[in-house]
């Protein structure tokens, strides 16, 4: 088992004081993760030594930059066990990855009346692109309901599959409930019903082992910034035959093989979907983040977070007036959304911040889910590999302060 307390030293931000005398307790990794020195140094070294535009460059820096960029792609492909690096497309973030599929695969393959199955627990990123498509094309959206415990209603899912949806797109792990959905099972069922599958892995790839071949998923979307990497880069994994058949998304440099005034011929994968100068240094940082996570081990990270979550659920449940939403510990990752009776989540978050405890308050880009639970907002604490029981204690202590103030 890695020493999770010791690895805190690798994260400069965690050593900071929010204000003089008040150390930071960072419980907002679901929004974005802190970065280890190794990631920052990889990007800095890239800019200081190898910075150049990639592809087709003959000079030394251009070749080094290309090798660094494509090397990062290979690392990321290996991390999710993609058959080939060319099946990993670099995007800005999970959101762009999903929109890419909506603009290309979906617009080329879906027509009015076709059904897309989503869930009630989707992040807006895996909801709004499909709403836009529905409004434009008359595609129908249907939603797997969320139970009171915060799980997907599998019987309802089975009934939806009988309607032969063309696409089933859902989150691997909810960024509010923490629920880890049974992705393998759900994908197999979707495939059996003839549907293409897209997994929003923004919260799973950072926190648990994800193997696209074992899952047999068609598309998988995730973001570097949630997995110790930089902002400005994310990835879309796709099945090769689907990616090859899809029309290109953005047009421009690098995504073409040949252009004349009359038209163009699209490039091979993955370049076909990477128009213009990509996030080169960010890819290097993304690769370094994956190296870091691999070295610690995803199984170990998951175990650490689940242990911590179980502990936190227990400690929070003991605070009078706290109501936690989402399933019991075994079914969730390190995300805990809750409400404190009589105090608005904004006020909770603000007072916690006064104690150095960084949490989110709001609908966490999952407004429909909050509507299901009839809550306009929740306060959310979330964990990553660098969090410890001390952080949980500081959260509980700060909540006592909230109760004291609001008495």
């Amino acid at each position: 088992m890695p020493n999770f307390t010791a690895l805190r030293e690798d994260f400069p931000t965690l050593a900071r004081e929010v204000r003089p005398g008040v150390p930071l307790t960072y419980l907002d990794s679901t929004a974005t993760a802190q970065k280890p020195r190794a990631v920052l140094e990889a990007m800095d070294a890239f800019y200081r030594r190898h910075n150049a535009n990639i592809h087709r460059g003959i000079h030394t820096l251009a070749e080094e930059a290309t090798a660094a960029y494509e090397g990062a792609r290979e690392k990321i492909a290996a991390f999710i066990n993609a058959p080939e690096a060319a099946q990993v497309i670099f995007t800005r973030n999970t959101t762009e990855s999903i929109n890419l599929v909506a603009y290309t695969w979906a617009r080329a393959n879906l027509k009015a009346g076709d059904l897309i199955v989503l869930t009630e627990m989707e992040h807006h990123s895996n909801l709004v692109p499909w709403q836009m498509l529905a409004a434009e094309r008359g595609v129908e959206l249907a939603f797997i309901p969320v139970t009171a415990e915060g799980l997907l209603d599998m019987a309802a899912y089975a009934r939806l599959l009988e309607r032969e949806p063309k696409l089933v797109a859902f989150t691997h792990m909810s960024n509010v409930l923490g629920t880890i959905n049974p992705a393998g099972e759900m994908i197999a069922a979707a495939r059996a019903a003839g549907a293409i599958t897209l997994l929003d892995a923004a919260q799973s790839v950072p926190h648990l082992p994800v193997d696209v071949q074992a899952l047999e998923v068609d598309f998988l979307a995730f973001s570097a910034h949630k997995m110790l990497g930089p902002t400005g880069i994310g990835a879309l994994y796709g099945r090769r035959d689907l990616l090859e058949a899809m029309p290109p998304f953005l047009g421009g440099g690098d995504m073409i093989k040949r252009v004349d005034l009359d038209g163009f011929r699209a490039n091979d994968l993955p370049h076909k979907f990477e128009a213009g100068t990509p996030a080169i240094a960010e890819a290097v940082g993304f690769g370094a983040a994956v190296d870091y996570l691999r070295a610690v081990g995803m199984e170990a990270i998951l175990a650490h977070e689940q242990e911590l979550t179980a502990y936190a659920l227990e400690r929070l449940a003991a605070v009078p007036g706290v109501r936690i939403i989402g399933p019991r510990a075994e079914k969730r990752g390190g995300v805990i959304a809750f409400v404190l009776e009589g105090v608005h989540p904004h006020d909770v978050a603000q007072i916690l911040d006064g104690e150095g405890v960084a949490v989110r308050a709001g609908h966490h880009c999952a407004q429909p889910l909050h509507l299901c639970f009839n809550l306009p907002a929740t306060t959310r604490a979330s964990f990553y590999l660098y969090n410890t029981r001390d952080d949980v204690e500081r959260l509980v202590k700060a909540l006592a302060k909230v109760k004291e103030i609001f008495g």
């Binding site: 608005h344 006020d347 603000q350 006064g354 308050a361 709001g362 609908h363 907002a377 103030i405």
Partner: protein, 127 residues
């Protein structure tokens, strides 16, 4: 933090002075901040000379949004509408007397937005 939740604010949140709904009223407006579910409605009664005879707010949300509304209603009692229209964000923030980051600023200013829409809306119905 202690700054933000000075006793006055928490007290005022627990026992607001201008919470309510005036019936009849001359001005009504409501709006919300969908991000956090804050909701504010205001009702105003005017006298013959266009001064605010009575003002009340109702709604739900965080302490900042509710107390800001309460303080705002207090501050316009007896004021001519022109003066209410001339109110600035800064006036409201001064009433609150606390420093706010961008997210909380939206909470604080919700009642201000509602009041402004209300008093300018009246203009329209007058015209």
């Amino acid at each position: 933090m202690d700054d933000l939740y000075r006793e006055m604010i928490v007290e005022r949140f627990k026992t607001p002075l201008f919470r309510g709904h005036l019936e009849p009223h001359d001005i009504f407006y409501e709006d919300d901040n969908p991000v956090c579910g804050d909701h504010i409605e205001i009702t105003l009664q005017l006298d013959e000379t266009g001064h605010v005879r009575a003002a009340a707010f109702d709604g739900q949300g965080c302490a900042i949004s509710q107390v800001a509304a309460d303080l705002l209603m207090e501050s316009i009692q007896g004021k001519p509408l022109d003066e209410v229209r001339a109110l600035t964000k800064e006036d409201l923030l001064e009433l609150l007397g606390i420093e706010l980051g961008p997210t909380r600023l939206k909470c604080a200013l919700l009642s201000f937005k509602v009041l402004k829409a209300g008093v300018y809306g009246l203009d329209k119905t007058e015209a």
